[in-house]
């Protein structure tokens, strides 16, 4: 209900309603049959574009096979009516269900693939279906005309009603998209699109998020196909499963703007009339002009307006007027008081945090992993006590990050065990581990670049609570603990400094309320003057009772903050114990500086 209120109060929602009113006014005032057909086509292709947008735009999974769902929907309506006398009204519902089901099956087996493998695989589904439908004798399904009471089978005496129906569908899906964009689902989708690994580490079940978007997308695409069938009254495999349908879904969305519901609307209203006009005027002499135009449009968009017209225009407006763009680009504000520094954080507090007993939080035994012939981690053992700051050091290539990935579930161990809080967690997926209270940061910060720093952190909070208010509180608390100011939190992650990204990653992990925080070279790449701020944040976090396992190279910092130190070399633990003692052990010095140095020293 709140979403519905948003639709009427938010500026974008009001704009959407205004556009809908405008389109319906145009629809109702048009009497020319051809014009009406073009308008209705605009709406149907916009609907397909909106469907594609959910998976291709918001979730960032380039699907080249939406014709599969479109075609399934078209055949549900057409064949259902022609062979089983099922009213297309019901047919549309069946289409949505079947489209969703097809997307569930296709998504479940295909979404595991990444990048171009996913794109290629998606291309094959409609192609295979095309030939199967031809073979099955469905080369041409014609929906019989009905003379009386046509409206019961979607054959309106006045074609304007059909246009209004398509408009209603577009409006419903746009509002749905509007709502998703603002909801936690939208944030999860954006996180998945921007960086799957970081989303996983923040507790997002990436596969489930993608699959959900896929099913919804498939259902909507099938409804678009069903409407197409009801409008054309004739369905052929090539018309609904052909490459052109998939391409058109991509193009209208990409041209208008990805990841905004305006995109498909803009794209379809520009491109569909243009292609109709070209076909009407030049179609007989230049039969492929439509495809050439769509191809040229896609090339132009990729080269000149990467995310589509909408973003291009809104960015240009934002530059000129300083408003209008949805991408918040907040400049550096002069008074950026860092709340982290306001809080008194000291070592003495860290020594007596609540629950700092000797109970073990993480117990790793004999962990090992080889990549081909390269043994990255041979035999990794570590015991992290609750409430401690535990350091993990070792020369480059010692296997520190791999050890993190093994504990964290990004890489499956060949052998060994990970016991978390007394319960086995070996090989658990990152998001499962996150839910069990393990947060982590990455060696090179992995930000969701096009989200604000605050939204980056909010992704971490979402998996912790069902309530948006709680998520907001968690986010603000985490931002405070990491010592990020309001102004810093408002800026886009892509414009944040390395220092801010490091703190953001810590905050994002903290928002998931971890009991164990794993920091991977958090101080790397920072200037000397930035170090105190991050060190203060780390100490403050430890003081609040979170156990910390940190990989670090900066020795004097390591020595000053950790309670216990483990040294890794060539995939094996070579030393473990109190930092000052460990750092004086000959084998540790040798592993860092080499044998020669040892001789010199002696």
């Amino acid at each position: 209900m709140k979403a519905l209120r948003d639709l009427f109060t938010a500026r974008e929602g009001q704009a959407l309603i205004a556009v809908a009113v405008l389109i319906s006014a145009v629809l109702l005032s048009v009497t020319d049959k051809y014009l009406l057909l073009v308008l209705t086509q605009v709406l149907i292709w916009a609907l397909l574009g909106l469907a594609w947008n959910l998976i291709g735009g918001y979730a960032g999974q380039m699907s080249f096979g939406h014709a599969a769902f479109f075609g399934v929907g078209a055949y549900c309506v057409a064949a259902g009516y022609a062979y089983a006398n099922i009213s297309p009204w019901i047919g549309l519902v069946v289409a949505a269900l079947m489209g969703g089901l097809a997307a569930l099956v296709i998504g479940a087996i295909t979404l595991r693939l990444r990048g171009h493998y996913f794109a290629l695989a998606m291309l094959a589904y409609p192609m295979a279906l095309l030939y199967v439908f031809e073979w099955a004798g469905l080369q041409e399904v014609t929906m019989p005309m009905r003379d009386s009471q046509g409206w019961t089978v979607l054959q309106f005496s006045d074609p304007r009603w059909f246009g209004m129906l398509a408009l209603a569908a577009v409006l419903v899906v746009s509002s749905l998209t509007f709502w998703i964009e603002r909801s936690r689902h939208g944030l999860c989708l954006a996180a998945v699109r921007e960086d799957e690994a970081a989303a996983q580490a923040s507790g997002v079940n990436v596969f489930a998020v993608k699959l959900r978007a896929m099913v919804l997308s498939g259902a909507i695409a099938a409804v678009a196909g069903g409407l197409y069938a009801a409008m054309m009254l004739i369905v052929t495999p090539r018309a609904v499963f052909g490459m052109f349908v998939s391409a058109q879904a991509i193009i209208v969305c990409l041209f208008g703007g990805v990841a905004t519901f305006w995109g498909p609307l803009i794209g379809a209203s520009v491109l569909v009339p243009m292609s109709e006009w070209l076909t009407a005027n030049f179609g007989s002499s230049l039969p492929g002009i439509q495809g050439v135009m769509y191809g040229a449009a896609i090339i132009a968009v990729v080269l000149f307006a990467k995310e589509g017209l909408y973003w291009r225009i809104s960015d240009a407006l934002a530059r000129r007027w300083g408003v209008g763009s949805k991408r918040k680009k907040v400049g550096e504000s002069p008074e950026c008081s860092t709340r982290g520094e306001d809080e008194p954080v000291s070592r003495s507090e860290a020594e007596a945090p609540p629950g700092n007993d000797d109970r073990v939080i993480l117990d790793v035994k004999g962990l090992g992993r080889a990549f081909g012939g390269v043994v990255a981690v041979a035999d990794f053992n570590i015991t992290v006590r609750k409430g401690a700051i535990h350091g993990l050091i070792g020369p480059n290539g010692a296997g520190k990050t791999t050890a993190f990935n093994l504990i964290n579930g990004f890489v499956r161990p060949d052998k060994g065990s990970v016991i978390l809080d007394g319960i086995d967690a070996t090989g658990n997926a990152p998001e499962v581990l996150c839910a069990r209270g393990v947060g982590r940061t990455f060696q090179t910060p992995r930000a969701f670049r096009r989200l604000s720093v605050r939204d980056n952190v909010r992704v971490g909070a979402l998996t912790q609570t069902r309530s948006d208010d709680d998520a907001r509180d968690l986010t603000e608390h985490a931002l405070g603990l990491a010592g990020l100011s309001e102004a810093e939190a408002d800026q886009l992650a892509s414009s944040a400094s390395v220092l801010q990204l490091r703190l953001m990653e810590i905050a994002r992990a903290l928002a998931g309320r971890p009991s164990l925080l794993m920091l991977d070279e958090t101080l790397a790449g920072l200037g000397r003057e930035d170090l105190p701020r991050v060190v203060a944040a780390i100490k403050g976090i430890a003081a609040s009772g979170v156990t910390i396992l940190i990989i670090e190279h900066t020795m004097h910092v390591v020595a000053s903050i950790v309670d216990e130190l483990t040294v890794l070399d060539h995939g094996r633990v070579i030393a473990n114990g109190q930092p000052d003692l460990v750092l004086q052990m000959p084998e540790v010095i040798e592993s860092y500086l080499g044998k020669k140095w040892m001789l010199h020293a002696a």
Binding site: G60, M62, F64, I109, T110, L113, R114, G115, H116, Y117, A119, L120, A121, L123, A124, Y125, M127, A128, L130, Y131, V132, E134, W135, A197, M243, A247, I250, L254, L286, P287, G288, I289, Q290, G291, V292, Y294, G295, A296, A297, I298, I299, V301, V302, L303, K306
Partner: protein, 306 residues
Amino acid sequence: MTLVDFFQTLITGVLVGAPYALMCIGLGLIFGVMRVVNFAQGEFVMLGSYGAFFIATHLGVQAVGGSASVAILAGVLAGPLVFCLAWWLHWALVGRVTGSAHAANDNHSSQVLITLGISLVLQDGGLILFGSSPRSVPNTLATESFEWGELLINKAQVVSFFLSLCVAILMSQWLLRSQSGKALRAAAGNPRAATFIGIDVVHAHRIAFALGAGISAIAGGLIASRQAFTPYVGLEYVMIMYAGVILGGLGSLTGAFIGGLSMALVQQLSTLVLPHQLQTALVFVIFLGLILLRPQGIFGRSVDRI
């Protein structure tokens, strides 16, 4: 299905398989070096077929020799034409969104999309230029056969088989031995390191793209005398090519050759048991099965790291 049918199909499969394998080498070269999924590869094959058709029928090459040698020569000559076109396409369009500067932050979407756009333009531009009626290159050899017991061995297929083998061998020798071939392999193996030792990676990509397109076009030219083609034929070849390349393991040219040959065999053998529409569907299903179950290929290692 008799035993003779089976062996006849097997022989045809191997003979037809060689140009298919050549196509796969073209695609494998582009993917191996640039790590870009090229949707327009099928259109390069299509353009090769049309190139051969127009050289054979329009440019007066008929005066040079009988129609058999003309058809064959035309098939090979189509390659350089498409090479030039692809060179220009890379310079004007593809090169702007590919290469090491774009690969990291992009999730490959603009690269795939731009080849999709090129594919649409070439397909439908082909429809405008060439019309929709199916064509084939006239070749007297296409109707002649060697007889071997009950088996018939089509002469045109034998010629295209050997020519494909020649081009494939030339290609691999060039890659292995020549200076520019080595530069290409270096650029494929590690673009950054290649840059450090003074290899122009963009140039290497351009060569790979144009050469890959040209080689696929020669294959298209060679099969043009036996298989009829339309401007829309590319999409079917693209699937066969990707299936072949993935089967052989992405990034390996030998693998691509074997993969292409295997796909042709499978397709030919399927004519014995499946109705026409399902033969094409089978290619897509095999392709899907491969990519889902063994994307690293039967022989190859995975090249897609996180």
